[in-house]
Structure formats: C-alpha cells, structure tokens
Symmetry: C2
Subunit: 166 residues, 2 copies
Amino acid sequence: MSESVVLDTVDLHILRLLQNDARTTYREIAAEVGVAASTCLDRVARLRRSGVILGHQLRLDPAKLGRGLQALLSVQVRPHRRELIKPFVERIRGLPESRSLFHLTGPDDYLVLVAVADTADLQRLVVDEFTSRPEVARVETRLVFQQWDCGPLMPPSSAIPPATRS
Amino acid sequence: MSESVVLDTVDLHILRLLQNDARTTYREIAAEVGVAASTCLDRVARLRRSGVILGHQLRLDPAKLGRGLQALLSVQVRPHRRELIKPFVERIRGLPESRSLFHLTGPDDYLVLVAVADTADLQRLVVDEFTSRPEVARVETRLVFQQWDCGPLMPPSSAIPPATRS
DNA sequence: CTTGAAATCTTCTAATC
DNA sequence: GATTAGAAGATTTCAAG
C-alpha cells in the first residue's frame, strides 16, 4: 500500500515547485521545468494516483482565527486496548481544538497538538475532554512558544534513481 | 501583528470549503456559498492580505518518498541562550529530514518531527545532527506509529460575530 | 456585490518521437 | 509509452454598474 515510488528528476522538480506554492500553474511549472504543460498535468495526475500527492491544503494562521495559543498534550490511555483507543482517537480528531494527533512509542501513548484561545480555554479543554475521561490515565501539557515548518519533503538522495524511470 | 480578524459567515464558509480541498474552484465555492465568483476571489484575496491564509500547501506521503519512518525528537539545548538557539533552529530547519519544529515550555526545549528511511537512518540523524553537537544536552526519541490530521481549523464559536462585517 | 467580457489556465486530442 | 503543440473548454480576473 505504501511502497516507495520511482520518481525521475522531472517529478522531483515539479514536487519542489508545488511544495513551495501549491497554486503554481502548470504553465509556470512547464516553463521552469522545461516540458510541456500537458506533461506536467500528466505527471501530477500520476503522482496523485500513485499516492505521493495526498492533497492540497490551505495553511491558516490560528492566531488570526482567535486561537492564539497552541499546546501539545501528551496523553496516556489506559488500558491501551483497541476497543478503547479507537473511540478515543475519533473523539480527539473531532474536537475543534485539535490540529494533529500522533500515536507514539514511549510511556505517553498519544501526542495532541491543539489550538485554543487562551489558557482558560486550554484548561477547560484539558479538564473536560482529557483528564475527566475514564480512559485517560495521565495528561502532560506543554505550551508552544513558536512553531516552524521545515523545507520541502524530498526523498533521500540514495532513493533518487540514476536517470530514467520505469 | 497577529490580531484576530473579523470574519463573517461567507468567509467562514469559504475557508471551510478550501480547507477541505484547497483546489476547489471559485465557481464551485460561489455556487455553494451563494455569492458571485468574483466575490469569492475578493474574499480569498482579503483573507490572504490579512494573514488568515498563509499559503497553499501540497500534502505528500513521506512513505511514498522513501521516508517511511517518522519520529519525534525532544531536545534540550544548553545553555538556552539566543546566540545558541538561533543557529540551532536554523540548522534543524535546514535538515532534509525535518518536517516541523516546536519551541516548547517544559524541560525539553524543542520538539522536532523528522521523516527518515529507517531506524539506521534515524540513528545516523540523531547521532550526527543532535547528540554529537555541543549545544545539545539531551535527546529523547519517540517513533510515530500513526499520525492523523484533524478537522478544519475554525474560530471558537464565541469569536463568530453576530451577522455583518465592518 | 453583481454581471459580463477578457485574459489566463487547464485539459483534451491528434500527431510525433 | 511518453511527450508535444495546439485547440477547446473552464476558470480566474477585471472593469463597470
């Protein structure tokens, strides 16, 4: 299902440009990469079909939407059994405050990134949606001072094939 | 700089649709929301100018790009002084393995989400780029079993104004 | 905010390599 | 099989009301 895909330099160039700005037009990409616009369309369609491209997402500023405070909640769910964790995950994903959720190794099972209005809002969230729940054994809250997104996601250089594609 | 912005129901409706799929056309949005396409264009341009919309991003599957393993690294930087942390942050952001970086409250100063090929790659990364660095006092590594993105980011209902905008 | 027209972009087809 | 150029169809964008 999630096997690695063979990408040539054209695919990589297109991905780099689109990661920089997902609204870049096929004409611009074509001019930059040096192929026809219809080829770019083809390549992007293939990258979508093969699952490399999962979707196009809008990045919003939580602070501008009245959610100026972000926090990471480390959560222990006990007992850690399927019939308990599935509803837990679905409930957390559905919270309007949740931004992303990780299932991790280590003593803390889950890490939840939340965006809230202020510390009072955070307290309400932690108490009402986490610590007061029977399946939640422990919650550790850390505030986010600052967050950075990193460079484009690229395959390791060892994974880049020498020249042509299959 | 990051003050909250007044959004009416049209803005919110547009944001919800675009967060669902950032490639939704203005015609579709217009039909759904019940305004003219040019109004949608206007609204989106305004949301961009006001900083609510930070950009359009392509979501990629790391596993398909030969980075099938993700991990979270909790890092203590000592001493925690500006002249040390700025280059640290810039270096981490520049690593091809880094996906996002958080500066946090609590004993661990930074949390880094990284995507690597396998555990050998992760070990190399941790040793070469973290533990062997003089400013890095401690690193704790946790693997990501699974990750979920949560629902659209929306303002708290208390922040939604009654009817009209300025 | 809307309409409607102009400019641009996407997408398809047929032909080529 | 992949790519191209060009045409046809959509979409975006602008000007005017």
